[in-house]
């Protein structure tokens, strides 16, 4: 064979030789407290944080098409954003009204995750273990025990990874019973740092390869956005 023959070099216009498969997905569900106690600065900062989250995901070429963000508000329970990748997601305006049906929101969220997985499977989309983020400044006003059992089962069966974040005033005793992982307390209203951390974590997950162990930055470290609750 002659030196200048390049049998496997294919010009860009025939790049269609490659199969087109959808990007691997990681579902990230935000369960956010939108009860009346969040009124004022907390809900304003939380809204800012979610907008910032979307912008930061958009800045990453892989994350913008891999991270599926969903938002459920509770107070009352409503799906404010069905799962969508950052490039197709318009941050909803989070209200602050009503009581805190946290238990019902958790159950609804876990159900939404399983439905999303079924949709992935039906389309041959590979996916990572979903993440659920519960953010609250209060305590449940509904029955939450079933939700605590459901979270425990989901963690044991590796169906989802569940984190609870309390804003000052949150009922950490109950958060501790709902989440398997130790809940953390947001420093002040530093939602921006929380979502920056979340975005960075999602980028790591979306780029992780087979057999690669993920090491996340500890949010309760000296430079982190949280303290232990």
């Amino acid at each position: 064979m002659e030196q200048d023959q390049k049998p496997f070099i294919i010009s860009a216009d025939v790049a269609s030789i490659f199969a087109e498969n959808p990007s691997d997905r990681v579902a990230c569900l935000l369960l956010v407290d939108t009860s009346s106690s969040m009124r004022g600065e907390p809900i304003r900062q939380l809204n800012e944080g979610v907008r910032f989250f979307r912008e930061d995901l958009m800045a990453d070429s892989k994350a913008r098409i891999s991270v599926d963000v969903g938002v459920i508000g509770f107070g009352p329970i409503q799906i404010l954003q069905d799962f969508a990748t950052a490039d197709q997601f318009t941050p909803p305006l989070l209200p602050a009204d009503g009581d805190t049906p946290m238990g019902g929101a958790v159950l609804r969220g876990l159900d939404m995750i399983e439905q999303r997985k079924n949709a992935y499977k039906a389309s041959g989309i590979h996916y990572h273990r979903p993440w659920v983020f519960l953010i609250t400044d209060g305590g449940p006003t509904d029955a939450w025990q079933a939700a605590a059992i459901a979270v425990r089962q989901a963690e044991e069966q590796k169906r989802a990874t569940f984190f609870a974040i309390g804003v000052e005033g949150a009922n950490f005793d109950i958060l501790r019973q709902i989440a398997v992982r130790e809940p953390v307390q947001l420093k002040g209203l530093n939602f921006r740092s929380l979502f920056l951390w979340l975005s960075a974590s999602m980028k790591k997950v979306s780029q992780s390869q087979v057999g690669t162990e993920l090491k996340l930055e500890n949010p309760t470290g000296p430079t982190g956005w949280a303290t232990t609750g």
Partner: protein, 254 residues
Amino acid sequence: MSWRYVWASAIGTAHRDLGLPCQDRGVVQIQHGSSEPEALVIAVADGAGSASAADRGAYLVTETLLTCVQQALNSGLRVADITSEDARAWIAEVVSCVQMQANAVGLPAREMAATALLAIATPQVVACIQVGDGVQVVRVDDRYEIALWPQNGEYASSTNFACDADAITATEVRIITGVIQDIAVMTDGVQALALHYASHTAHAPFFDALLPAVRNAPPGEDDSLNRALADFLDSVMVNDRTTDDKTLVMASRS
């Protein structure tokens, strides 16, 4: 007509950025047996990204598989008669080899975790054996056949590795008979370019573009063709689509 074959590995951009070595390995041999005059043997392994000695693991997996097959052919095994028991015995041998070597250097065996893909072919039959992800595609009777679908757990970042007893139960075997024209064996770094996940099919344009160079090559192996394949696997077009290590082995008789 005799086999022509080409094989190459290229480091993934993510591995290069992290200062990791290429943890993939692919090998091709023509082996001769007492009842099987000539068999083409392809062994491929993909070391786990999380394993500290994954490159060593991939080397052990491929070398052990080649040795196991040669011994079996020496004892009179014919490719058409390969059974699941044979395959499980070879994988058991791989696992014990990996565990012994890991022990010797004071590492847990999972630090040498690697997948194991093995194809043994004659012009009339190919036996494909697999633990883990990656894929083997066979052109038989003028159609592309996926020998075994990549093994994945529920989540994208999990698969089986030939480093513990679970690998033996995870071992899959597929015997394909017919006019065997071409065989392609690849690690998961290449698989997403070559498979259509939603329809569970081989992406024919990928193979149609790459196989002619192998079919038109001189019999046996050609260094410049191996280099050209390595260049292709490290090209911008491929690296835009995967950041993982990539190994591709192709063989052809047509």
